[in-house]
Symmetry: C2
Subunit: 139 residues, 2 copies
């Protein structure tokens, strides 16, 4: 992986996008096992509908993990200092999720070379699932 260099980053620049999908139920089952979150709204359509949902939904934290992969395909995990997300929409099995990041600011004032990224995760129809921010320290 070629490392981004702070001095060559400009505000407004996009980082390489990341797309994953279609999300399948196996991924939801794997995430349930990894996280221990076996809530049936992520695993069982009938129970999700009983809970007022249109069907099984993707774990919000799995969507956020995909947004995290946008970051870790750009820099090693250890360079990610902060990561936040606003949960805007739901994803469903079969969705394809695209994660996008844009450089919002560059700041070298605190002794480290940090960039703030504005992040979006959206489905195949362009509907926004998550809006996020991340702070990444670069060399």
């Amino acid at each position: 992986m070629e490392q981004p260099i702070f001095s060559s980053i400009s505000v407004g620049e996009s980082i390489p996008p990341f797309t994953i999908g279609p999300i399948d139920r196996t991924q939801l089952a794997l995430f349930a096992g990894a996280s221990g979150d076996h809530n049936p709204i992520h695993l069982d359509d009938d129970k999700a509908r009983q809970g007022g949902l249109p069907g099984t939904i993707v774990h919000g934290m799995l969507n956020m993990a995909f947004l995290g992969r946008l970051l870790t395909q750009w820099v090693p995990q250890q360079q990610i200092r902060r990561f936040s997300s606003r949960f805007v929409g739901m994803a469903f099995p079969g969705d394809e999720i695209t994660c996008l990041g844009t450089v919002a600011s560059c700041d070298a004032s605190a002794g480290e070379n940090c960039v703030t990224l504005e992040l979006v995760a959206q489905n195949q129809s362009g509907e926004v699932l998550l809006k996020g921010l991340a702070t990444i320290c670069l060399t």
Copy 2:
């Protein structure tokens, strides 16, 4: 799950803690499959050491997912509006991770009953892995 009620929440109050662990390598393999993040630093001690780490480390996003479970065991996922985390330390296989949340503020001014929680994830030695904030809307 008994739902927390906005009018009965006080600043400074703790929400029920959540502990998971010891984290095993199967969870890391499951998370790799769920997220598609097969970076060997999470799966292979030798390759992690070659990368300058003491050994295999837990995916940061899996730690954050555990902190997310602290939230989803308190309220349904749909009530989580924002969630942010600062990555402070690394977790390793065998660690037990405890997630804690404290009510930092209550705000009903924007037409919704929202509480902000301060969050911490720490290992069995009390070393902090993540510090977070979450905004939850209650009825």
